[in-house]
């Protein structure tokens, strides 16, 4: 079934590309933020987890996010 298998192969390739992009993004975010960062999910929907290991980490992350102090 050539006609049927082609889209499946394309989907697989697209998924692999997306995974590679997200692995790279996760790595870059981690280096940027300076703590452990995980991206769970994919392009359509998901979540970014940023870990902090001290109040100073938390403070730094909030500053990175430019949260106005309130």
């Amino acid at each position: 079934m050539r006609a049927g298998s082609k889209p499946a192969t394309k989907r697989k390739a697209a998924a692999a590309t997306s995974e590679a992009i997200f692995a790279d993004l996760e790595k870059r975010l981690q280096q940027h933020v300076g703590t452990r960062v995980r991206i769970i999910g994919k392009a359509g929907a998901g979540k970014i987890e940023i870990e902090y290991f001290s109040p100073e980490d938390l403070e730094r992350i909030l500053q990175l996010l430019r949260l106005p102090s309130g």
Copy 2:
């Protein structure tokens, strides 16, 4: 046991204060980021979860974090 109960009361009060501060922080972060945000843990260690519901959300969050494009 007055001497024993006092620290426990203080700990309870401190925990309640910390919870209130974190609930407020979570709310402010959520308004700032514009998607669902959760803070899991407390001051010492934990994680911030930032959800995204579209590629545009993700892009915006990364811009907020000032991630250099690579």
